[in-house]
Symmetry: C2
Subunit: 384 residues, 2 copies
């Protein structure tokens, strides 16, 4: 799979032993930034996610989304011959990344200490459910385990309602992003010192790092924050309001914007009301504020309000479903949904890379995902 | 605010013009990795988030969480003298980051082209609601605007229920993480070429990049995915189940784990049932599967089931609230919730850094957040 462009990481070779999501999302980012990512898969079926739906012409859309642009070689790491091939790759690689349960790499003789002795410049990244240390280190985890234990599910959803998982796998994706940041940080360290280092990222830790103001609210009040539905804990207005046909999200982070909102809606008196005069007052009377605004907003459909509020500079938005989001003119203009170079999965598009760089063109399409072991010959030739 | 340790980015100076969340979260990560982050604040009140609750002894817990370890200088960028000071800083800085609305930096004479001509090695990072290009470039955004437009709200929550925002500001945090990754990537580019570059990251783009399999599901089916409550779209079991006192999350990504689950629960017949024999069959009969499992699980409290399932190696978890999450032994063992060196906000703890590195000690406490303009003298002395 040839790269579409050079990219800032075009001098970097990543040996990728990861499966499913957290690790593959990390190496997808590195690949989009230009790195050569060689996916080492088990010969019996390869990455588990090759067998996850949705399928298009028998190919996994799930797998393609996360692995387009990478290369694949199938190796049985329990065979001495195949392990020898892995070492050929490692001798010229910059990064190895794995998301096995802690202990597996040791059993394969591929632990950090052994590899660091052999390849002192190699960067070793590990992404796992709970990390390499601590009482839960050897436990298995999936996205929902990290979301549940990390606290984010307790603040997502509606009070008194059923448990709610964030609708994308933020437990995996968060860890993948932190791992990518760790790898680039290790590259900076290596540029200064000549030495590789090990990066250990846990899904649970990553969830805690993404809890945002919930942690401060807990320590300030001594009480765990509750789910807030769709509302902000300390800014008002900052939520969806019902309109004649659906919802409009309105967010005003300061009093000036709120005054402008009321003037634009034709209800300047609301902004004069002492209960709504400051953000603190509005936050206290947030339910009443919602009733006041919906009294008006229910008379017209969402588009009417967007047409009125956007030109006035009021931050507002529709709640897009995925179909609307991927066809949004801004999303399109920013190349955030792209075709893949694989005609057999023609309707499938994949997410683009949100880091736009002045020194590199922004890709308008992405290479196909590799077939299992599909790049063996080229890889073996390149790593003699 | 002295750094607690050296850190891999200790040779990097970041001039930070950002406010509130996406930008400050990005520079928090850089600071935790050792960079010197100089926060340039407006003299009238500084960063808006200094005025956001929760407050502890009159200090904003929100602000402290995102700005601990940084330095502060107050500059009025509309004054020629203060702009001169900013240029003194820039002449020795590695990175400038801003999250103004597109156009503001141009008006200040601080746009990428001007700065790049003057400081060719400087990396310029911009994080904004919609990015520097495209039809919505000049629109204002808050977290919930990006969440609403980016599609993540449409797959979070329960079908037919009210709209649900992800309970932490993933619209901001996602953009902050991508911006940090972009800055480190630009540092790699600079190490190779000697040249700075501009990074342009949008909150909306970042949300699309985090939609995960929702995009593939939409293109495969032609229908926008619906909110899934707390369930996975293509793996079962993978959701919370009611117990006698609350919920237990159980996730089995393959048939072997599911068979082991049924054996451990004492209902091996369920695993034999043709409707539950494969992951595909279980996904099809996921409501029935839930009823079967809850029939059993409702007899005992959550802790009983954790004590039974964890030793058997079944991935399972309680749904922790924030109080439980921050006190969890694994979270504690991994230094993911830390004290700050500011006795006046004593009960407040802050999130740690999830990138653990073999070459650097993992911080066990973090420096205080700066007072507005609190580091002026030292900064002016260091940048003569």
């Amino acid at each position: 799979m040839a790269k579409t462009g050079p990219g800032p990481l075009s001098d970097i070779v990543v040996i990728d032993l990861t499966r499913v999501l957290a690790g593959p999302f990390c190496t997808l980012l590195l690949s989009d930034l230009g790195a050569r990512v060689i996916k080492v898969e088990n010969p019996e079926g390869g990455d588990d996610s090759r067998h996850y739906g949705p399928f298009i012409n028998g190919k996994s859309g799930y797998f393609i989304s996360q692995n387009r642009g990478k290369e694949s070689i199938a190796l049985d790491l329990k065979s001495a011959d195949d392990l020898g091939i892995l070492h050929r790759l490692l001798s010229r690689a910059d990064v190895i990344i794995e998301n096995f349960r802690p202990g597996t790499m040791q059993r394969l003789g591929l632990d950090w200490d052994s590899l660091h002795r052999k390849y002192p410049k190699l960067i070793y990244a590990s992404t796992s459910g709970f990390g390499q240390t601590g009482p839960y280190a050897t436990r298995a985890a999936y996205d929902i385990i990290a979301q549940a234990m990390g606290g984010i599910m307790s603040v997502t959803g509606h009070e008194g309602g059923p448990p709610t998982r964030v609708g994308s796998s933020i437990g995996d994706l968060g860890a993948g992003l932190f791992t990518a940041l760790g790898i680039l940080t290790a590259m900076h360290h290596r540029a200064k010192t000549g030495d590789g280092m090990m990066i250990d990222v846990a899904m649970l830790d990553s969830q805690v790092a993404l809890l945002e103001n919930s942690i401060a609210r807990y320590f300030a009040s001594g009480k765990p924050p509750k789910p807030l539905g769709a509302r902000h804990p300390s800014i008002a207005p900052f939520e969806p309001y019902q309109t004649k046909d659906s919802y409009v999200v309105i967010a005003c982070g300061n009093d000036e914007l709120f005054t402008k909102l009321c003037r634009t809606l034709g209800c300047p008196a609301v902004a004069q009301d002492a209960r709504f005069a400051t953000n603190a007052a509005r936050s206290e009377h947030v339910v009443l504020l919602k009733a006041e605004l919906e009294d008006l907003l229910l008379h017209h459909p969402t588009q009417h309000w967007l047409d009125l509020l956007l030109p006035a500079g009021i931050p507002c938005a529709p709640i897009n479903d995925v179909e609307q989001a991927v066809h949004d003119p801004q999303v399109q203009a920013r190349n955030m949904v792209l075709p893949v170079d694989d005609p057999s999965v023609a309707p499938l598009m994949v997410a683009g890379m949100p880091i736009k760089m002045s020194a590199y063109p922004d890709a308008e399409r992405r290479p196909a995902a590799p077939a299992l072991d599909g790049d063996r010959a080229r890889i073996l030739a390149d790593f003699p």
